[in-house]
């Protein structure tokens, strides 16, 4: 009984995972080899949906855009680390800054979308107004590719850095103060401290963040949905394409094939990230 007890404690979580994660995943896998019918029986089509992906230009464009969004990951990590280092002192001002930086994370995405739409509005928005003060002509923040991708990246960064900053702060809290103090006595500059002490210490945190932020970038959807819903599909990402196929065109079979590809992509990316970081460690 003693041996069984740990497994019994694990059972509720396993059941929940099986019902809400594994079962839907298996279903998506089975739908991906079918022509799905809502009001009739499904028809098995083998790899037809996957073969269709190969010749689908929208798929390849959205795939490339998703890869482009991964560029957000290193920027997000650097910005978050800099912010975390700047607010880690326990002074009152830093606490207020922490709150300010974390505010975008807890702001509902719809509100964020409306706010940034106002900022990026091409005729009346804040960004173009500021640019006009510098005598820079109007930028098509929302309508033109790839500027609209840059707009979504800015929104993603703004919304994400507070979350990653908190993770960095948690990692920094575990850094023994004596090591930092010793390095100061040895004459290390703040930059040398970051490179030789802080970053090596934060390696597990960096690994976690690289995996999470890269897979989030691949799965990017909501930001696009709220900021640039009306742009052509080839300006969007893989998950937006999945949404269109499955939930706007009701092609569940093809949508499921896309979902499987996105899953594999995320899996491969995360695995590669972990291996690279482990090897460097």
């Amino acid at each position: 009984m003693k041996k069984l007890l740990p497994y019994l404690f694990l059972l509720p979580a396993c059941i929940l995972l099986a019902v809400f994660v594994l079962y839907p995943m298996m279903q998506v896998l089975s739908f991906s080899v079918m022509r799905y019918s809502f009001f009739g029986s499904n028809k098995f089509v083998g790899i037809e949906n996957y073969a269709r992906l190969l010749t689908d230009t929208d798929f390849w464009r959205t795939f490339l855009n998703s890869m482009l969004y991964i560029l957000v990951t290193p920027v997000l990590m650097i910005v978050s680390l800099v912010l975390a280092l700047s607010v880690r002192q326990s002074i009152r001002k830093a606490a207020a800054l922490r709150l300010v930086f974390f505010l975008p994370v807890v702001t509902p995405i719809v509100v964020v979308g409306i706010m940034w739409k106002w900022i990026f509005a091409e005729d009346t928005g804040l960004m173009n107004y500021l640019l006009s003060l510098l005598s820079i002509s109007k930028v098509s923040w929302l309508t033109n590719y790839p500027t609209n991708i840059l707009s979504v990246m800015i929104l993603t960064l703004w919304r994400g850095f507070g979350y990653y900053m908190m993770i960095f702060l948690a990692g920094l809290a575990l850094l023994p103060q004596e090591i930092e103090e010793a390095s100061v006595l040895d004459g290390a500059s703040p930059f040398q401290q970051v490179v030789h002490i802080i970053v090596p210490h934060l390696k597990p945190t960096l690994l976690f963040m690289a995996v999470v932020s890269a897979s989030s970038a691949i799965k990017l959807f909501t930001e696009i949905y709220v900021l640039i819903p009306g742009v052509p599909m080839n300006n969007k990402t893989l998950v937006a394409y999945l949404y269109r196929q499955a939930f706007e065109r009701f092609d569940f079979g093809y949508g499921s094939a896309l979902a499987v590809v996105i899953f594999l992509l995320t899996f491969v990316f995360s695995y590669a990230n972990i291996r690279i970081m482990e090897r460097r460690a």
Binding site: S37, F38, F39, D123, T124, S140, T143, G230, M233
Partner: protein
Amino acid sequence: MKRLLPFLLCCLISCGQQDASITIEFWTLQLSPTFNDYFSSLIAEYERQHPGTKIRWVDVPYDAAIQKLLSSAVAGNAPDVVNLSADFLSKFNSMNAFADLTGDIARCGHTFLPNALALCTFDGKVVAAPWYLNTYVLLYNKQLLTEAGFSEKDLPRTYGQLIDFIKQYKDRTGKFALFWNIGKDSYLPMMLGSEGVAMTDSQITKATFNTERGIKLVDQWVELYRKGYLQSESIIKPGSTIVESYQAGQVLMIMTGPVFLSRIRTNAPTIYAHTGVAPAIVGSAGTHELAAMSVSVLSTSKHKQEATDFTLFLTNPRNQLAFSKLTTTYPSVLEALRDTFFTSSAANLETTARALGAAQLPQATRLRSHLLHQDFDVLRDSFDEAIQKACLGTLSTREALDRAAGEWNAILQKNVH
């Protein structure tokens, strides 16, 4: 045992009664709570007339309706009767979602408007009963109009006049006269149809919008966009944002259904106070776009006959007229449309708009013929992207429309063979 016998008999009787009772589930699109009283009394009357039939009314949000309907179909608990925009009928018809109502509609005893019935008919099969209708009028801000030095007689009546007016207004005020979504769920097909340029041939087998005239007409709007006479986001914002821009006071005028007047009254009473209404803009063909709501019986219904019966009750002249009196919509049956209610003199903005719209209904038809095709969403996206490319200067209008026409023909021909 003697004591048990009456109890068992009661159980049997009540079970028997339950079996005899039929429940029809009926879905509407975002009509509750505004019309709760109307539907409660309508359903009560129907149940009184049809003992043994119960109606379970479920109101679903407009934006979530399609997904809810599909989810319910997958789960095996789809409703019996469903209210859908006629725009979605072709898609659902291609999924074999609907029961055939052809015979029932023909025998129902009231006359549906032929142009409305045409929206519900696919390959000669009527898959829905037309319900309430809408068409477009021009809403304008009288204060902004006067401030710009215009009077009501300067308001445009045709698309040609509209283009000139948009330019003059922007040149005088630096502001936008109109918000019209030309690149997302584009209304340009509506303009083309009203100018006599059909989007497809009558059999919907070939794109016909890229004629010399079609290209010239679209190019005028592309030029307006490129020269900054239209809002930059008018190529990516959908039609649902038209009313928003008007009630925010960003534009002088919009083309929309009279039904939206009540929303403007609630959301922006100041703008409403300055709002005037004029006939919709038309092209040389003089036709208007017809927007229709419909009611279908799903093919999965276990009580098709009863569901059809309720559908025809809901859409009969008396009930449609009663519903129209609560809204600024139009009934789809001639017997109700002949009521003096739709021609009454202008007492307020809503009645003026209602009278204007009613007068346009005979000329209203489906100008966006591609919406009758099962792949209308693919066709629509292809056209939208062509307009976006032309407006952003990636392609010339001719190149963009020719390319879109090629894509359309590939799709339309695929379904022919």
